[in-house]
């Protein structure tokens, strides 16, 4: 599945034993696709000497700070932006 700018997505809340680029603080959090970057080799396999294929699309995902941090004390419009690979994202209806 590929996503478009404005789509609502949830980051998969799953552990991953090994190198991956999805920080734990966004796992399980819901955000919005802000930008479709491009497709890149997958660091989860290149980290172990593989060729990283198939390519995985990378997205800039924007989250409300209040969604990410319990008790976030700042203003409601504050956002945090994280690059997340497609296979970590689930569609939100």
């Amino acid at each position: 599945m590929s996503f478009r700018r404005g789509d609502r997505v949830r980051v998969a809340d799953r552990p991953h034993d090994g190198h991956h680029r999805t920080p734990v603080y966004v796992k399980g959090k819901t955000g919005t696709i802000e930008r479709v970057h491009a497709a890149f080799t997958n660091p989860e396999t290149t980290a172990y000497g593989a060729d990283g294929l198939p390519l995985e699309r990378l997205y800039l995902v924007g989250f409300d700070q209040r969604e990410v941090w319990d008790g976030y004390p700042g203003p409601a419009p504050d956002r945090i932006y994280v690059d997340v690979f497609e296979h970590w994202l689930e569609a939100v209806e």
Binding site: D13, G18, H19, P23, V24, Y25, P43, Y48, G49, V68
Partner: protein, 96 residues
């Protein structure tokens, strides 16, 4: 939330002050950076392997190590795993 790995620092609770001071890099730090660049350019070792090697450090050692000490740790472990270095080779050279 899952138990996080030692390198996965975002939102890690701490009361420790953040050291924002600037300093000159030592020669060994510049050389370490250059070495990683060359190894990447030559296709010997990529940045994801470098990161994976850092993330594989025992948590106590990770905490004690400086930024480029972590790079060196990873360089030695990944190059040893690839057979570019023999196990203990750097220690032997240093001892000579």
């Amino acid at each position: 939330m899952e138990e996080r790995a030692v390198h996965d620092r975002g939102g890690w609770p701490t009361d420790a002050p953040i050291d924002r001071s600037e300093r000159e890099l030592a020669d060994w730090e510049l050389l370490t950076d250059a070495l990683v660049g060359v190894l990447g350019g030559q296709g010997v070792m990529n940045v994801d392997e470098l990161r994976r090697g850092i993330e594989s450090m025992p948590p106590g050692e990770y905490e004690r190590a400086s930024y480029y000490e972590r790079w060196l740790y990873s360089l030695e472990s990944v190059l040893t795993e690839k057979g570019v270095l023999e196990r203990g080779e750097l220690d032997r050279i240093r001892g000579e």
